[in-house]
Structure formats: C-alpha cells, structure tokens
C-alpha cells in the first residue's frame, strides 16, 4: 500500500544522476525559491481537522504547513489526516495531529539542499522560509522535478539560439569581405592549460555552423600548433584565427627561438623536444606532419633567433558559405 506514495516522487539514484549531468548542474544553480510553490494553503494550529480534510480534497494537495505568528510550527500531511479519519476525530484541532518542529529549507539555498533533505529526512515536502524564518512557500519532489525540467528546456533553447544566431552571423552582415577574428595568447610551458585555446576554437566553429569534420580538422591542427608554442617558444605566442565564409585561416606566431632547419622539422619523427615533454605524450615529431594532413595548405616561416610563423588554411565547402552568393 506504500506503492502509491513511492511512485509519486521521482527517485534520483546514482546511476540516473550520472546520466543527467546538466540536471545535476542545475540542481546547484537553481534556488529553492525558483521552483517552490509560493501560493499555498496554510493552517493555524487551532483549525479543525475537518478544514484540512476539505482543503486537501478541494485543492488536491497532500500536505500543508501549520503557521502561528508567521512562524512554521508544524506540517500536516495526508498521513496525519488518515490517522485522524481512522479515529473519527475530525473535530480535533490541527495541533493534535500535525508533526511538530518541521525541517525547513531556505529559499535562497540551491535546490540540491532540498534534495538532500528529502533523502535524509524521508519527508515528501518541506516548508520554505526566508532568512528571517518566515514561511514563503513549500517544496515537494514534484516541484523539483518540474522546475528542473523547465530549466533544462530553457538552457537547451538558449544553446540552440546561440548556435542559430552565430551560424547566421555572416548572412546578417553585409560587406565586401566579412571575417571574424579570434585571438588566443599561449603561455610557454603551461601544460595544464594546453589545448584550451584549440578547444575554444573548435567550439566557436561548431557554433558558427561548421560541420563536424571541418571543426575536427581545425581543432587538431590548432591543438598541435598550440602545443608547439607551449613546448618550444621562448615567451609563448599568439594563435589568430580568421573565419571567412569561404575559408578558415589560423596563424600561430612566436618570437623565438625559431627553427634551424625547416626541412628537417617537417620530417616525420624528427623532434627536438625534451624527455619530460615526451613523457606528456608529445614531442613525437609528428606535430607539423599532422597539421599538414589536417589543413588544405600550410606555410611555415621561421628564422633562427627571430621567431616562427605557421599559417594554416582550411577551405570551406561552397554550400556552407552560400549566403553571399547572389
């Protein structure tokens, strides 16, 4: 007979939680007051249990806070009402059947706090109070579920909209030649953040509507170039990405040390990287070779003692840029 109650709340088990990352994130982002029910039925301790019976039936609710002088002193639930009905005691005051010293949650706390309390206290509903301890609403597992679903839908729509806006960027702007330039500063020997710039480049391209294959090729080439700057440059460097409707040009520039023998540097397997860098999985002497395989054209200029400029170009299929054709 408890099956009815257990099917009401959605139980969030560990395995379910693993599958729904965004929901987890939202449980931390959303505040209790954003998902709670604010317009609620309340009782005073002196109300009759008969009032509870009628309110529960008419409003189709299964619990409500009991308030005295603006302070929550208890909660009356369907379970309490059933005990009362069994004793045929509907004339009794609410204070006789309510559970006292209710667990409350603050409206300013994240939803995850309410979820924790549902689990630890086994209560199905929690009165929500403000920082002064005054009642401002009630939260049930159902409120959490529908609040999370609403927020999930909202965040999904935002990403869609962002992608849509970005992918129409070139159509919306009229000029003889439109381009978007992204610049990233790369610090030398910063292995922990190595790849962050390339990761951002790849994401930007996907948002701008590039297909998965183009984004992957650019991402890999940019990543190799970024790691080269981190591993070899004296003072780091800059990756500049110019996106045009017909092509993507990525340029990695540094001010030294420069490459002594470009022909040798381009040879697969040739590397000047230290043992430490090899232990990180890099310095296999395949970087420049990889880049040249990913891009449509590549130009490497370097002067020993001065610096290096690596320019990589990827052509975009005509269908992707179709916007500016008459």
């Amino acid at each position: 007979m408890t099956s009815q109650t257990s099917s009401q709340g959605i139980r969030i088990t560990d395995s379910v939680a693993e599958n729904i990352t965004r929901v987890e994130e939202l449980a931390y982002e959303l505040k209790v007051e954003e998902v709670m029910t604010a317009q609620l039925k309340i009782f005073s301790p002196d109300d009759q249990m008969n009032d509870v019976y009628e309110t529960f039936r008419d409003a189709r609710i299964s619990g409500a806070p009991v308030v005295e002088n603006n302070i929550v002193i208890g909660v009356i639930s369907m379970e309490d009402l059933m005990k009362c009905l069994k004793s045929v005691d509907l004339e009794a005051p609410v204070s006789k059947y309510m559970s006292r010293l209710p667990v409350t949650v603050r409206g300013s706390e994240p939803v995850v706090e309410a979820l924790k309390l549902f689990v630890t206290t086994k209560h199905g509903r929690l009165p929500v109070v403000n920082d002064q301890g005054e009642l401002i609403g009630i939260i049930t597992k159902g409120d959490v579920t529908s609040g999370l679903l609403r927020a999930l839908q909202r965040s999904y729509q935002e990403e869609e909209l962002r992608r849509y806006r970005a992918s129409h960027l070139f159509e919306d702007i009229n000029s003889d030649r439109t381009s978007l330039i992204l610049r990233y500063h790369i610090k030398p020997r910063d292995f922990t953040h190595g790849g962050t710039a390339s990761s951002n480049i790849k994401r930007a391209l996907l948002r701008l509507g590039a297909n998965q294959i183009i984004a992957r090729r650019c991402g890999i080439a940019a990543y190799e170039a970024e790691m080269n700057l981190i591993i070899h440059s004296n003072h780091g460097g800059v990756i500049r990405v110019e996106i045009e409707p017909h092509q993507i040009t990525m340029r990695a520039t540094d001010d030294g040390p420069g490459i002594k023998d470009i022909k040798l540097a381009m040879k697969p397997g040739y590397s000047t990287a230290s043992e430490e860098i090899r232990e990180l999985g890099f310095g296999a002497g395949m970087g420049l070779v990889n880049i040249s395989r990913c891009v449509d054209s590549m130009k490497l200029d370097s002067t020993w003692g001065k610096g290096t400029v690596l320019e990589m170009r990827i052509n975009l299929p005509a269908s992707q840029s179709g916007s500016d054709s008459p």
């Binding site: 693993e18 292995f191 992957r216 999985g281």
Partner: protein, 126 residues
C-alpha cells in the same frame, strides 16, 4: 557495443561523473603518443592509453573520441578528471594492461579505428 558493455568487459571503473553510458562506440584505438592519436584515430573511437595528464582529454576532445580508458590502474590527477567532466567525455580506469584491454575488446568484436597512413615513414631510419 556501448560504454556500459565496455566497462564490464575490461573490469573497468568509471571515474568521471558526466556520462551517457548508453553511447555507442564504433571501435577502439590504443596509443600513448598523443600525436599518434591525433594523426590516425577516426571519430567516435574508444581511446585506450596509459597517459593520464589533462592533454589526454584535450586530445580526445579534438579527435571526437567517445570515451577514454586508462590502463594499468593509474590514478589520473584531479585536473584530468575535472576536464573530462567539463567536456563530458567518459573516463574509465582499469587494472589491466594495454595488451589485455585491447585483446578483450577486439575479441568481443570491437574493431580497430586506426587509420593507416601510407606515407608514414616514422623518421627512425634516419
């Protein structure tokens, strides 16, 4: 074969949080050199590696890797896990070695997703 099936096959443990375990994996690829991965892995592959720094996750992200398996029971640094969670790439650890893991998965029908490079002299012959 999906990621849950793979975890069972290799006695693995999922060490990242954010994961769709029902995601289908098309094939596997094993390497410790990230440049080799970037050069020859095809999209949607499982990356089996002994390397556990954050660059593994970056490499995986660039190359559209479906999941990462870390062999020989290594425990990756916190930054690696954080990045895997952030990029939503499943990260699995197993006590088995690289050969054992590749063997089990291949035997279970997971094909290789390594693209052969025909012009690939490694430069070693000097």
């Amino acid at each position: 074969m999906n990621i849950s099936d793979i975890i069972v096959l290799i006695d693995g443990t999922l060490i990242s949080t954010s994961t769709n375990l029902k995601r289908e994996v098309k094939g596997g690829f094993g390497a410790d050199l990230m440049s080799d991965v970037l050069a020859t892995i095809q999209p949607e592959a499982l990356l089996i590696t002994g390397l556990c720094n954050p660059q593994v996750v970056r490499t995986a992200q660039m190359a559209d890797v479906a999941a990462i398996i870390l062999v020989r029971g290594k425990i990756p640094p916190k930054e690696t896990i954080t990045l895997a969670n952030q990029e939503n790439i499943p990260f699995i650890s197993t006590n088995h070695g690289m050969y054992e893991v590749c063997g089990r998965l291949f035997k279970a029908g997971l094909p290789s997703l390594e693209q052969q490079i025909l012009d690939g002299s490694c430069g070693c012959e000097g």
